[in-house]
Each structure stands twice: as C-alpha cells, then as structure tokens.
C-alpha cells in the first residue's frame, strides 16, 4: 500500500498560507461582484443576515430539519454502502455479476427519481431516500475496491490464527481499508447534503432548501445567499476535518 509521505513543516506552512490566500481572494471577488450585481449581497451583509437567522427559532426549525435529514441519509447510506461494498469486495462472483449494473446506476441522474419517491416516502422521507441514493455509491465503490486490494497474506494470517469473522472484520478488514473508507465517508457527507437540499428545492414543507427557494421567489437575495453560505460552510468544514483525518491515519 502506498504510504502518503507526511508534508514537511515548510510544505504545511505553504498549504496553510495557500488556503488563506484562496479564502481571501474568494471574499475579495465576492465583494467586487456584489458591487456590480444587484442580486449578490456584500459578504459583510450576508454574514450579518446569517447571524441573525441563527437566532431565529423558525429558521432553526428548517435548519434542524435539513441537518436531521442529512445525518439520517448519511448514516443509512454509509451503512448500506459499506455493507454492499463489503459483499462485493469479498465475493468475486457477486462483484462480476453486478459491477456493470452498479456503474450504470451510479451514472443515472438520481434526482429524476424524486417524483417517483414522493408518493412512496412522502415529503419527509423522500429527501432522506434521495440523500441515501446520493451518498451510497462513493462508500460502496471505495469499500469494495479497498477490500479487493487487501493483501492475500492478511487473509492467510487471519485464518492461520483462527480469527473469527468478527475478529477478521474488526482487526483486519476495517483497518486495512481505513483510507478508502474515509475517502468514501468524506464524499458521502457532501453528497448527502446535495441529495437532501436538492430534494428540498423541489418539494418539501421544511428545510433549508425550501428557505433558499422561497427567499429566491421573494427576491430576498441576502437571505438566500446567507442560507447558501451556511450550507457551503458546514459541508466544507466537515469535509475538511475528514480530509485531515484521512491524511493522518497511519
């Protein structure tokens, strides 16, 4: 397994400075664009709106609804994807039989299924199912590939010391696939957000996606951009933390 070389102090310094520079450039560009376009509020104003939103109980109901849907979708999607990925990685005939189907399914624009899900899972459930559909595949594909690449000798080792199934899973399989698994989880977080919020754009009673659409309808652009900013910042932060964890694992 290739071991990622840890960055030197100087490189890490560079990475940190680079991130600051990019963030600064983005805010600057945003500031300039907001001066040119009426629909884009200035960064400072957006942050102010966001801050006041976060103390508004009605807004928090929407935020909680979306957060809960994303979390549920993430947990279900990850467990399901992990389980199916494990089976595909372990059982070659199953993998060979289903691989083309899975690749094809992953290529389907999942959101077109939303109208079909609605009558089955109702407003509250459909966006969770959509979130699951979105975050299932990266976990599944990464876990399956990870399991397939576990060196043969680890299996022999596990068998020779008479490790049980559970011991093999806990002591060999999971740690051996830790990197691809974390990559899958990181992608799954973002995609769960995409699946849920996208669904909320189309039809829902509560949720930040609905807030975005409604504020757009009312022409309340600072409100709209503030909510979009919240979604971006939260997803970005979680991805970032997972990414750093990924880099750190031995």
């Amino acid at each position: 397994m290739p071991v990622a070389r840890p960055l030197t102090l100087k490189q890490r310094h560079g990475q940190f400075l680079g991130s600051i520079a990019v963030a600064f450039a983005v805010v600057l560009l945003w500031q300039i664009v907001s001066g040119l376009l009426f629909v884009v509020p200035a960064p400072a104003r957006t942050v102010a709106v966001l801050a006041s939103n976060l103390t508004d109980p009605d807004y928090l109901v929407d935020a909680r609804e979306t957060a809960l849907a994303v979390a549920t979708a993430f947990v279900i999607g990850t467990l399901l994807g992990g389980l199916v990925g494990l089976v595909l990685g372990l059982v070659k005939p199953v993998r060979l039989a289903t691989e083309p189907l899975i690749v094809a399914l992953n290529g389907v624009p999942k959101i077109v299924l939303y109208p079909i899900l609605l009558p089955i899972f109702q407003l509250g459930g459909s966006k969770i199912v959509m979130g699951v559909l979105f975050c299932l595949f990266p976990v599944l594909i990464n876990v399956a590939a990870g399991v397939r690449h576990i060196p043969d000798v680890y299996w022999k080792l596990a068998r020779s010391v008479q490790a049980s199934w559970l011991q093999t899973l806990v002591h060999i399989i999971l740690p051996a696939i830790r990197r691809p698994l974390l990559t899958g989880l990181r992608l799954a977080v973002s995609l769960a957000v995409v699946g849920v919020v996208l669904s909320e754009f189309f039809a829902t009673r509560y949720g930040l996606g609905r807030v975005v659409l409604q504020t757009y309808g009312h022409g309340d652009y600072p409100e709209m951009v503030a909510t979009i900013l919240l979604l971006i910042v939260v997803s970005f932060t979680i991805s970032m933390l997972l990414w750093r964890w990924e880099k750190k694992v031995q």
Binding site: V3, A158, S160, Q162, Q167, I172, P175, A176, Q250
Partner: protein, 263 residues
C-alpha cells in the same frame, strides 16, 4: 510431542489450463523437536505443502498428522511465518506481536507480557512502539516471527521467511532462528531455495522435484549442533552442498524445460 507426519499427501489444483498437480505422493516425517528444511526449484509446490500442513489448503489425497492429530484446518498450535510481509502497518510492533494472542482471547496483561518476551527473543527490544513502515524488511520479518512465537506453538512452519532480504541479514537471522529453536521444544519445517541456508539451519534437508512435486532426496545434516557461519568452508558442508546441488540442478533444468515447452 509435535511430530509432523505426511502420508501420501497429494494436492491438485483445477486451473483453466487443466489440473496442476502441485504436490504428489509425499510421505515424510519431521521428528518432534526436529528442524527440517525443504528446498526445491520455484513453483515446485513447497508453499503448497507447507500450507497443507498449516491447515490452510486442503490436500486432495493422503493425510497430514501433527502431534498424532489429523490436520483438518488451521490450528493455533501450528505457527506460520509467511514469505510475504505480513506485518499490519496500522499496528505498532507490540500490537502486531500480540495480534495472535488477542485473537486467541488471552487477557490483555498476558498479551503484553508474552508479546514483550517474544519481541526480546527476536532482538527487537526497543522497537515495541515503532510502526512497521519505520522498520527494514529484515526487522519486519522478525516482527512476523515474534508474532508466531508469541503463541508458543509446538510446530513452526516458515515459508522462505528471509527470501527478500540481503545475504548478510539472511545469514544473521537464520542463525537466530536456529538458536531460538535450540532453546525451545519446537518442531520446525523451513522452506528455502537457498541450499547453504538449508544446511546451516537444519538437521535434515528434503529436496523437492518440479511437477509433480515429490520429495526426491532426503539428506541428514551431520554437522555439529553449534554452527558457526565459517562452517561453510568445511569439507563436510561442501559434500552436503554438492549432493543437494546436483539433485536440485537436474530438477531445475527439468522444470525450466517444462516451463519453456509450455510457454
């Protein structure tokens, strides 16, 4: 006592190209507390035979007994050291060595105690907290050896454990394996393709032929128990070396021609 008894052992693999008989009609005995080396051209079935004794591969004919019991599957009383690097990169040396004990359900205290003992035995004291990625190939094989020894198995099977190492390290580690064996009550079967290594380490050498894999020669090594590496220049050593070399060379040539013909 853990002697290994092989009775007419046969292993055939079904491959797309037809049946490959990897091991054929092997009837041999490793006496309890003996040290036997198995030499043979690559691809002749050494690993397969070892794997059958370890209970990792099913024989298609005959049977294997270890310590009077028929081998039907893996057994913690039979330790294996694999040719490939089998250290777990996410575990420290100490955690690697206690892996088998952990799986066996030994309590944490016992795990640590026996792991430390094994680590010291293979000369890795001071590296308990290191990760395998910080160690050389030779040290990683020591970790694998320590992990196997920590279970204190009656039988130790080693499959070319030092094949990937440089000559110096290999001679050094070989001497250590022999010295550990001398201080233990273990029965060892050691696979190698290095004739000198086989003679230096063992009490008996089996020569295996290429396809079908049969034991074509069994040579007792009548050398003093204490084997200084300088022994390689002795007359007795050279006689043994010549005899094994001759058997092997014929086999290697035959194997080479078979492979050429098949290609």
């Amino acid at each position: 006592m853990s002697e290994i008894n092989l009775e007419n052992v046969e292993v055939a693999f079904d491959t797309p190209a037809g049946t490959v008989v990897a091991v054929s009609g092997v009837t041999q005995r490793v006496p309890a507390q003996g040290f036997v080396s198995l030499v043979g051209p690559s691809g002749c079935g050494k690993s397969t035979l070892l794997s059958v004794i370890a209970g990792l591969t099913k024989a298609t004919g005959g049977q294997v007994q270890v310590g009077g019991k028929v081998v039907n599957g893996p057994d913690r009383g039979i330790g294996v050291v694999f040719q490939e690097d089998s250290t777990l990169p996410w575990r420290t040396v100490l955690d690697n060595v206690r892996f088998a004990l952990q799986v066996a359900g030994v309590d944490k205290e016992g795990q640590l105690e026996r792991a430390r003992w094994a680590i010291e035995l293979v000369g890795l004291k001071g590296f308990a907290d290191a990760y395998p990625s910080m160690l050389s190939g030779g040290m990683r094989q020591r970790v694998a050896l320590a992990r196997t020894l920590a279970l204190e198995p009656g039988v130790v099977l080693m499959d070319e454990p030092f094949a990937a190492l440089d000559q110096q390290t290999r001679i050094f580690l070989g001497a250590e394996v022999r010295s550990i064996w001398q201080r233990s009550a273990q029965t060892v079967l050691f696979v190698t393709h290095d004739i000198s290594e086989a003679i230096l380490l063992s009490e008996q050498v089996w020569v295996m032929s290429y396809r079908p894999g049969q034991i074509i020669d069994v040579i007792d090594v009548d050398l003093p128990a204490e084997r200084d590496p300088s022994i390689v220049s002795s007359h007795a050593f050279n006689e043994l070396h010549n005899r094994i070399w001759t058997s092997l060379q014929e086999e290697s040539m035959r194997g080479f021609r078979q492979q050429e013909g098949a290609a």
